[in-house]
Amino acid sequence: MSHRLPERDKPWMMRTYAGHSTAAKSNELYRSNLAKGQTGLSIAFDLPTQTGYDPDDELARGEVGKVGVPVAHAGDMAALLDGIPLDRMNTSMTINATAAWLLALYVVTAESQGVEQAQLSGTTQNDIIKEFLARGTYAFPPGPSMRLIADMIAYTVEEIPKWNPINICSYHLQEAGATPVQEIAYAMSNAIAVLDAARERVPADRMSAVFARISFFVNAGVRFVEEHAKLRAMAVLWEQLGRERYGVTDEKALRFRYGVQVNSLGLTESQPENNVQRIVLEALAVTLGRDARARAIQLPAWNEALGLPRPWDQQWSLRIQQVLAFETDLLEYPDIFEGSKVMEGLVGELLEGARAEMAVVAEHGGAVKGVDYMKAALVDSHRERIRRIEDGEQIVVGLNRFTESEASPLVEGVDGGIMTVDPAGEAQQIEAVRAWRSGRDQAATDAALAELARVAASEGENIMPATIAAARAGVTTGEWSRTLREVFGEFRAPTGVGDAAASLNGSADLAALRDEVDRVSEALGRRLKILVGKPGLDGHSNGAEQIAVRARDVGMDVVYEGIRLTPEQIATSALHEGVHVVGLSILSGSHLELIPAVVTQLRERGVDVPVVVGGIIPDADVQPLKAAGVAAVYTPKDFDITRIMQDIVRLVAERGGVSTAA
């Protein structure tokens, strides 16, 4: 084989994960991104759309248009894609619990452009197991959720053959703390659960076609050599799975296809410019070796840990991809790792580890039944990752090493270097959805919803035709979801914290703090008790989980009920549980709406304990939160959790009239 390709490879598809405020504003953004050389669309929906609530739902408060675009009905989808030719566009939609619904809206929008569904190409993320494990935008219990996925696979493989009905995601697992072995093993176990579910919904002779339509969405961290090996290992396992478990023989169908977003968990708030180097190296992990190169890439921005990226920040990340693809010689060679001992060794190691861990998941009854096990394992891995960073074992430049820095000019602008979404947009969306409802044929809507409910309750009928009919009839996102919630029921995913190992042999600081917790508890009369709460639709649970686990490890009693609670639920739990302090975690940007709401609810119930807050809180918002009664605010730069715990114990002691330690 020659060491040069006869012809330079075509570059991967370049995307930017984007969307905010309204469909019209996001449409403008998409058009300008496409004009800059982006080659595919990647739609970020807001949390109400992802969890199935309309903008005027109580649970949507503070979240409408915040971290993505709100799409409440066919009219919003049409506005979002206005002027974008869907027969030629390749669109990735990060949508899961409500994936069937958003695909239906996409199909109906294409219709209105005169494009048939068979011409559409793109991806619905549609991976519910990782929502239970890491991402948090689930709506229905596991059984019905898996059925919806199987229905979409069965439908698209016949009707929208160029569509990827599901992206099996390992990306979010790494973001939740997974090791490379866990990332591979849980993603592959997940794929097995999905394919097994699909096998019950499609004829046996179509399994090869189904297998060919399953793609992956992976992560790549800064240890980029090992990360590349990980992708090669996944390709090996995928092919083996196809051949052995599903009898696939078509070579093309057996190919491991993946899109990627590189690691964001490791991107820092401290010295944020360093994130650019990290992103570039991570991009190499998914492009270097031709045999395991990404089909589609989207990159985070330098200001990832500060807040939402502005168009300029996203442009910078797109330009990274373009330099890599068009300026370097990367695309001129065959696989550069062919025959590499190092690569072969790394792949072998990862395969061995992943196969063993897949066997453990299988012992737990597979990925659906194994959610509790996998979740606990992820929380535990993340605990270990944080411990290494705290102890300086894992170096993070600018965070725990080389911390002296000049002031960064990047964050000096009036906007603080991030995009903020105008909160007035929410009111507009509420009005808009109400106007939509009053302008439609209500009888047709009701009939469509009744039919949807019937199909949902049926044993074998596919959900897609009734869903597409509902989209045409003017049904809203909230109505579609409510109808299914009524049939399927609701679900709360496990928190994983209960089984996390204890950091028993921790530092001297930890031991001293344990003594102090004992002393303060003694003086208070009962053990120091903390409630860790996650108000709103925000699914970022890492911070809350690690705070909860560490609070336990320093000797506190901890109440943590998981994500997606209302301020009222949190305040009621705090009252019932008699906690000495309430800690709230919000990363989705809705802290200015939700934190004061929790404080108000607490005080209304006579719960007068200190409230501390952590998450993505821009500097400018700290004062307003303190004015609302918050005692302390923590952000990612406060990586030393034992320190945070020291503060909390001191705060409780002060408020409880306990004298400070001698």
Binding site: G498, L504, R526, R527, V554, G555, D557, T566
Partner: protein, 320 residues
């Protein structure tokens, strides 16, 4: 912090004021000497003498192996009880390890309820050192809350022999097992385990395996000559099944139980547990041993409240 007033809390409970519940728990959990005095006042204030009768709430113990589905089942039971207009307090005793002193209390997360509904109260506590053991505060809390709530549930983790604490405290004990839990079957057959008042097999949605478990457990009960115990299969995932039947079985058990006798037994057992928690084995020896203490307790007035019983035991050690 201001000291909570036990008599005032008791008065609120007697008046049916359920909003007293959080402070009742804060008080009985507190170990400061001042709080202990007030907690005694609280218990005296909800004693049969103060109430004029045994407290009206049905004290239900829900116990079983870890992960059997107890809390998820409680979520459905709470929903059904509330729909029937009955108020419910849940005391969830979490088994999580106290190796570092602290505990992650996870049961609450599984129980769904309307936060605006003051007919539901849920409190989590860490278990005592022993599996299935009850902290003194849980006994006191259950006793007190039974004066103001229609149902008081105590969730504990227990397998085999470890349910004795809850059996002493509750009017009705429901043992909850999941399909495929052979342990319970063996314990029942071999007589290691006390016969529960109600036996519940969860996760009926799993199908055959749940039905088989139910059949096997019924057979095991018959083989040890027990025909009274109801054996039910329930599913707590939508669509939930067997919940109304379970409630009926719990009610039926209560109707056939001499509640007063159980309560007397509970108070005496609680007094002994409180005494032992405070004075340890050495204190027991000073009384002439556990048996002797039990004999003395059995000879007391049945209506006697817990603080008085404990006081009596303490007086005997001093005089001994």
């Amino acid at each position: 912090m201001t000291q909570l007033d036990g008599s005032a809390l008791a008065a609120r409970l007697r008046a049916g004021d359920r909003t007293a519940a959080p402070d009742v728990l804060n008080l009985v959990e507190s170990r400061t000497p001042a709080a202990r005095v007030q907690a005694d006042a609280l218990l005296r204030g909800v004693s049969p003498a103060a109430l004029g009768a045994e407290a009206g709430g049905h004290v239900v113990g829900v116990t079983g192996p870890p992960g059997a589905g107890k809390s998820t089942l409680l979520s459905e039971l709470v929903r059904a009880w509330r729909a029937a207009g009955r108020t419910v307090a849940v005391l969830a005793v979490d088994p999580s390890s106290r190796r570092t002193g602290g505990a992650l209390l996870g049961d609450r997360a599984r129980i769904a309820y309307d936060p605006r509904d003051d007919g539901v109260f849920i409190r989590s506590t860490a278990a005592a050192d022993r599996l299935g053991g009850l902290a003194p505060s849980t006994r006191a809390a259950a006793t007190a809350l039974a004066a103001a709530f229609d149902v008081v549930v105590v969730e504990t983790v227990g397998v085999g022999q470890s349910e004795t604490d809850i059996a002493e405290l509750a009017d009705t004990v429901a043992v909850v097992v999941q399909p495929g839990s052979g342990d319970t079957l063996q314990f029942l057959k071999s007589g290691i385990m006390e016969i529960p008042d109600v036996l519940v097999v969860t996760k009926a949605d799993l199908g055959d395996i749940a039905l088989r478990a139910r059949r096997d457990l019924s057979a095991a009960l018959r083989s040890v000559g027990e025909r009274e115990t109801a054996v039910l299969a329930v599913s707590s995932v939508a669509p939930a099944t067997g919940i109304d039947e379970l409630i009926a079985a719990l009610d039926a058990h209560l109707a056939h139980t001499d509640v007063a006798a159980r309560r007397v037994r509970a108070r005496r057992a609680t007094a002994l547990a409180d005494f032992t928690a405070e004075h340890g084995e050495r204190g027991l020896r000073a009384l002439g041993g556990r048996r002797e203490a039990q004999r003395w307790l059995a000879a007391q007035n049945p209506a006697c409240d817990v603080p008085s019983l404990v006081g009596g035991l303490e007086a005997r050690t001093v005089s001994a």
